[in-house]
């Protein structure tokens, strides 16, 4: 894995990223304003079908997290790794990979910032993302 920007790689899933702006891409309902990640063709609040793509905040705070000690079925990265929910200013929590120099020191409330993550190597390499811990909270 590498955190270097390799945005030319095929993305891990479709419609997940604003590659140019370097952020996740959510979907905001044109009718009721509800925001979700990832972007889907339907609004889960009003069942509208007009959903605009909306880049999500590049910074947030850890709401909760865990460190997965063993690789689960289908996982293309290495264990241990951290995943959790990050709270974003626009009122959304998203499930995300979380990286830090020392995973063991992660805490609820830590400030994190969007970063690219590459999973797999060679032809199998895919562009994914994480939120990287910036500093430990108080």
């Amino acid at each position: 894995m590498s955190s270097a920007p390799q945005t030319a790689l095929p993305p891990i899933g479709s419609d997940l990223f604003d590659v140019g702006g370097g952020s996740l891409l959510g979907g905001r309902c044109r009718d009721c304003g509800a925001l979700r990640f990832p972007h889907r063709g339907f609004c889960g609040a009003c069942q509208g079908t007009g959903i605009d793509r909306a880049p999500l905040s590049r910074q947030g705070r850890i709401y909760t997290f865990t460190i997965v000690r063993h690789p689960p079925p289908g996982y293309r990265g290495q264990a241990p790794y951290a995943i959790g929910y990050v709270e974003l200013a626009e009122g959304l929590r998203v499930m995300t990979t979380i990286t830090a120099e020392d995973l063991e020191s992660l805490q609820i409330g830590d400030l994190v910032a969007f970063d690219w993550l590459v999973l797999g190597e060679g032809e199998q390499a895919r562009l994914s993302w994480c939120y990287r811990r910036l500093e430990a909270s108080g």
Partner: protein, 378 residues
């Protein structure tokens, strides 16, 4: 007035059974339930068959072995809550007048290790997000953050349920572990360690339900609730990949329990015994609150008081729970019913809750689907 009477229950042990097919385990559980109910296979008018992994037409394959009587067979998949959902469908068939005697059966044979969670999109698996115990860990960490729950409390739940299991010959693990042994077991998904998590495994359980007037000593199903999570409830087993910051609406367990209690015309304070979804230690503590067994913030105190232990005021998971039995997901909900019905019939030997008259089961699965059932001995 007619009642929904649990006429008989059966259970194939939960564990690992080599090459034995799940269908065969289901047949054994069914025969035990029929024997218990003193009825014949041909008297069953409809079958509700719960499973996740058994493939096409599991219920029909059971009939191909036990006898093709031509009755309606419906297969039910509701993740870890499949068994509860099958029992509720069986109940509806009786209550509607469509049938008088029906069977709910659950069966499963699962691979070892982390479940292959196809609930999530494939790319979530590729990036390592499709890990169901991670969801339990998320909720446990919030519990520790908000309510002062410690690792020791998480270990104490596992210690209690494993202590109960030594009296249950149908549990996968029948061994006591000390709190220190549990705290020394390998970390799997922080803060949850190996002995704080249930194992996916194999097994089957069945119940025969009948519509008739209950007689003294009969066990009746008096309340049921089945709900699905809403987007604005707290994080939990519904496994959202995103959620709003404002997530303070009642949980799916709270809503299903409220419905079941209202229908049963009792409250949580009236219960004598509970079998609940202890997928992991943290989930048992959360469920204690969400089922109304204690006030918010009081789960640790209730646990420490010994109230939920055999011999306490309200034993929780006297069977050893999923932590000891393992969780064959299609069968686990009916395994809970097997335990509670036997508790109410005073047939549980050394793990018997003396004089138990009112019991509750709760199963909770992916997608946030929860089934709660309340049983009463007449």
């Amino acid at each position: 007035m007619s009642d929904i009477v649990v006429e008989g229950v059966g259970m194939h042990p939960f564990g690992r059974f080599g090459a034995k097919p799940a269908i065969e385990m289901a047949c054994e559980a069914i025969l035990e339930a029929l024997h218990d109910a003193c009825i014949e296979w041909r008297e069953i008018e409809a079958i509700y068959c719960a499973h996740m992994y058994a493939g096409t037409g599991a219920g029909q394959r059971i009939c191909a072995i036990l006898g093709q009587t031509g009755i309606p067979v419906i297969n039910v998949e509701n993740a870890c809550s499949s068994g509860g959902a099958a029992a509720i469908l069986a109940r509806q068939a009786l209550a509607s007048g469509e049938h008088a005697t029906v069977l709910a059966v659950g069966l499963e044979k699962m691979p070892r290790g982390f479940m292959d969670m196809d609930y999530f999109e494939p790319w979530r698996q590729h990036i390592g997000h499709a890990v169901n115990p991670a969801q339990f860990a998320f909720a446990s960490r919030r519990l520790m953050h908000e309510q002062g729950i410690t690792e020791r409390h998480l270990a104490l739940v596992a210690e209690k349920n494993h202590a109960h299991s030594v009296h249950n010959d149908k549990a996968m693990y029948r061994k006591r572990f000390t709190v220190d042994e549990i705290l020394a077991s390998p970390m799997i998904v922080d803060p949850l360690r190996l002995l704080m998590l249930c194992a996916p495994n194999e097994g089957a359980a069945a119940a025969v339900l009948r519509r008739r007037a209950a007689r003294p000593g009969d066990v009746r199903l008096i309340g049921h609730g089945l709900k699905t999570a809403t987007r604005d409830q707290p994080l939990g087993e519904h496994m959202p990949t995103d959620s709003p910051l404002r997530s303070d609406q009642p949980s799916v367990t709270r809503r299903a329990a409220d419905q079941a209690f209202a229908r049963a015309a009792i409250g949580p304070q009236d219960l004598d015994v509970v079998e609940m979804q202890d997928t992991d230690s943290g989930t048992e503590l959360i469920n204690m609150t969400e089922l109304g067994l204690c006030e918010r913030g009081a789960a640790a105190t209730m646990l420490e008081s010994g109230a939920t232990r055999l011999g306490g005021r309200l034993p929780v998971n006297p069977s050893g729970g999923l932590l000891s039995k393992g969780e064959p997901v299609g069968a686990s909900g009916l395994g809970q019913i097997y335990e509670v019905v036997n508790q109410l019939r005073d047939r549980c030997g050394q793990r018997q809750v003396p004089g138990a008259r009112l019991g509750l089961t709760q199963a909770l699965g992916a997608g946030g689907n929860c089934s709660v059932l309340v049983f009463e001995r007449c």
